[in-house]
């Protein structure tokens, strides 16, 4: 494993991890505040990408970077106001179900409006090409832009939550909603804003993730279960945990797809003879890159067995 491969993979992994964090942060915020697991969170991510595709074809990419998340956030807020709030009284399972139904609906609507195949949502000129070349490998500008936006978002969310009045109200409403309501704040509206804000963050991730990777109807499902893994591994409701877990899973996945070793080659390197007749050959012959898709889920299972509350979680339920 050369140094060059290591550096580039690390950078790719970090940029993918930060994209995951942009998604999981919104999910975590919504969850820790309202106790609602937004199953449709990655659907809003997909909507962000598609909106940005349409808007950027009219007014260009940079306005779309602002407008698309706003539109997605508005849709999220409307959904909270007219659908989620209505089922709130039935308990958590119907809340989860209603967002599950929404994810179905958004997927079908996206296919209805934009078609079933990939849309040509390209990078703007300023982000095309490599940022720098390390030995022979290039690191694209778009990935560094993902990192930049994610860091900016992280800092601004943190500042918003800790340094502003509305942030303090949100934090208070998180712990003691009745008390905050008694002090005269409109807690349902705060909930609506948080839900809309979380969706807007997902939309923002979609705007920059959509052209860095691919914009297609399957994009929601492909990251959907990964960010649930991130949230559980990091610890339910812990933003710092989500950050750590996002980076970890981003790095693990990026490194794993590039490693072409298997248990068999490992054992052979140790001097053992491993052939097709050896017991468990189907398992031994799998390369690390082949098992890459399941690594996050294996990680999830291991975490649940050895540390059920997650890396940085505090809740034991």
């Amino acid at each position: 494993m050369s140094l060059e491969f290591f550096v580039i993979s690390t950078l790719n992994g970090v940029s993918y991890g930060l994209l995951l964090f942009m998604l999981s942060s919104g999910l975590t915020l919504i969850f820790s505040m309202m106790g609602v697991l937004n199953f449709a969170h990655t659907s809003f991510y997909m909507l962000g990408a598609y909106f940005a595709y349409t808007i950027s074809s009219v007014v260009g990419f940079w306005p779309a970077l602002v407008l698309a998340p706003l539109a997605v956030g508005a849709m999220g807020a409307l959904f909270e106001r007219y659908s989620l709030r209505r089922v709130h009284k039935f308990g958590h399972v119907p809340e989860l179900l209603v967002t599950f139904g929404l994810s179905y609906l958004i997927l079908e609507l996206v296919q209805l409006v934009w078609g079933r195949s990939t849309v040509p949502y390209g990078l703007p000129e300023q982000l095309q090409g490599p940022l720098f070349t390390l030995y022979d490998t290039q690191f694209p500008k778009s990935r560094s832009f993902v990192m930049l936006v994610a860091m900016l978002m992280l800092v601004s969310v943190w500042l918003l939550l800790t340094r502003t009045r509305i942030g303090l109200v949100i934090q208070a409403a998180l712990k003691h909603p009745e008390m905050v309501q008694a002090l005269g704040h409109n807690v349902p509206r705060v909930f609506m804003l948080v839900f809309g804000g979380g969706c807007a963050l997902a939309g923002l991730a979609g705007v920059i993730g959509g052209n860095t990777y691919v914009t297609e109807p399957a994009m929601a499902a492909s990251v959907g279960s990964i960010i649930f893994v991130v949230v559980v591994v990091g610890g339910m409701g812990s933003l710092a945990g989500a950050f750590l877990a996002s980076l970890l899973i981003g790095l693990v996945q990026t490194f794993a797809v590039a490693i072409d070793h298997s248990l068999a080659t490992g054992l052979q390197a140790l001097g053992m003879t491993v052939t097709e007749e050896t017991f468990g050959w189907p398992l031994l012959k799998l390369t690390v890159s082949q098992v890459a898709p399941i690594l996050p889920y294996l990680f999830l299972v291991l975490i649940l067995i050895f540390r059920p509350k997650g890396l940085l979680g505090t809740r034991e339920d």
Binding site: G101, P282, L283, V301
Partner: protein, 437 residues
């Protein structure tokens, strides 16, 4: 104020036998026996067979969702793995290395489903509520992607095939013809339904309901909620595996991409909920709906998933008890003799609702037509009407129909709500008066 209201519901119960229950189960058995004689086409028979094992699967799912409050996104793992073990057992049996008659193959699937539930359920049931849902999703993805990694066992893209006709015929039964398979499925369906209903009355079934409603109290009276969930999960896995085994017998082919996929799990969840998770018989309705939707509705319209999503969303919002709860509400009205006065309102609601749906459906179908069949030209037929998907007039027409329908529906709905709450009040009043006597 004490809350010692005695619940004096009157069952039609004649000792020593519970006649009402015997009649209901007898009718269910009769329906299973008679159904293929009434609907003789091969399509109907296929659908009936599918309904048969989906009833088992949906009921086993509801053991988690309805009775245990566990929202699982990975139920297809247990049905799918049950199918795979069953199909391998069938292949071994036809080679002669495993002496198992076909009649017992579903049980093999069941035991397999149970073993996987023992293994995976240990991790899953460590948590409850929302976290449980996320973990089942993760496990579901894990198994689904693993299945594609081991083509030796799961058959890769092509899946595993088998031939259910092996061994000699017994009294002329070879399980070659579909009708014989249907009766095998029907027998299993009846037995499993009865067994799962019996489970609801066992101490474990009762405490499972308590764990759903108030886990903290259950801990206080000395039960380990995690273990209760685990046991229920294992039993649900067993019945899911039986359903999976019957699937393998029915189709004689199982593919990993379909049978253990998360989409399949989502389908079970969707229809169990639509049928009604709060009543035991709800999932049976759900299974019937699932087959009708996936066989008939998908023929009718390309946008059926969209309609399905909308129906599901409205169901969660307005009738979280599913179709079963709607039926039970109306039965209650009928019991008090109030149903007749509501008929005009129901008709009004249905009529105006249909108009609105028609308008919306026209627009959806036109959009789909433009998306998918653009090569065929803009003119299409929908429900006998010819629409030009590019003409403004058909769009304006649809919008007009939709708005008219919505407006009238809203009027009917308001009137209906008033009538509904008045009737409920009357019933409450009647019950109170009955108690006072």
């Amino acid at each position: 104020m004490t809350t010692t209201t005695s619940t004096t519901t009157s069952y039609y119960r004649f000792k020593p036998w519970n006649v009402g229950r015997i009649i209901v189960w007898g009718l269910f058995a009769l329906l299973l026996i008679v159904a293929p004689m009434l609907f003789k086409s091969s399509l109907a028979l296929t659908m009936l067979s599918q309904i048969g094992y989906l009833i088992i699967i949906c009921l086993s799912y509801n053991m988690l969702l309805g009775q245990g409050g566990m929202l699982s996104f990975g139920h297809a793992v247990y049905t799918g793995l049950g199918s795979f073990i069953a199909i391998h057992a069938m292949n071994l049996a036809s080679k002669g290395s495993l002496p198992i008659p076909l009649v017992l193959i579903p049980l093999v699937g069941g035991v397999a489903g149970m073993l996987f539930a023992v293994l995976l359920g240990y991790v899953t049931t460590k948590k409850a509520g929302t976290t449980f849902a996320m973990i089942t999703l993760g496990i579901g993805e894990l198994v689904a992607s693993m299945a594609l990694m081991f083509p030796e066992f799961f058959g890769g893209e092509g899946g595993i095939t088998t031939d259910r006709v092996y061994g000699g015929s017994f009294l002329g039964i070879t399980f070659g013809p579909a009708i014989q398979v249907y009766y095998l499925i029907a027998a299993y369906c009846f037995v499993c339904t009865a067994a799962m209903f019996a489970f609801t009355g066992t101490p474990l079934g009762r405490i499972l309901n308590a764990v759903r409603d108030n886990p903290e109290r259950v801990e206080f009276i000395g039960y380990n909620t995690q273990r209760v969930r685990y046991f229920a999960f294992i039993i649900a896995g067993f019945f899911a595996g039986i359903g999976g085994g019957l699937t393998a017998i029915n189709f004689e082919i199982i593919t990993a991409a379909d049978s253990v996929s998360v989409i399949r799990s989502g389908g079970y969840l969707l229809f169990t909920f639509l049928g009604g998770a709060t009543f035991f018989f709800g999932p049976i309705i759900g299974a019937v709906l699932l087959v009708f939707a996936s066989v008939l509705l998908s023929e009718l319209s390309k946008a059926w998933l969209l309609y399905l999503g909308l129906v599901f969303l409205f169901m969660v919002m307005y009738a979280p008890g599913g179709v079963a709860s709607l039926i039970m509400m109306n039965l209650r009205l009928a019991k008090f003799g109030k149903l007749r006065s509501l008929w005009p309102s129901y008709l009004g609601l249905a009529g105006t609702g249909l108009v609105a749906v028609l308008g919306a459906a026209c627009m959806v179908e036109m959009t789909y037509h433009l998306q998918l069949n653009a090569a065929l030209g803009p003119v299409m037929t929908f429900l006998g009407a010819t629409l030009d998907a590019t003409a403004l007039s058909s769009w304006f027409g649809s919008i007009f129909v939709l708005l008219t329908g919505l407006g009238l529906f809203e009027l009917c709905r308001r009137q209906f709500l008033q009538q509904w709450s008045r009737i409920q009040e009357e019933i409450e009043h009647q019950i109170k008066r009955g108690e006072a006597l």
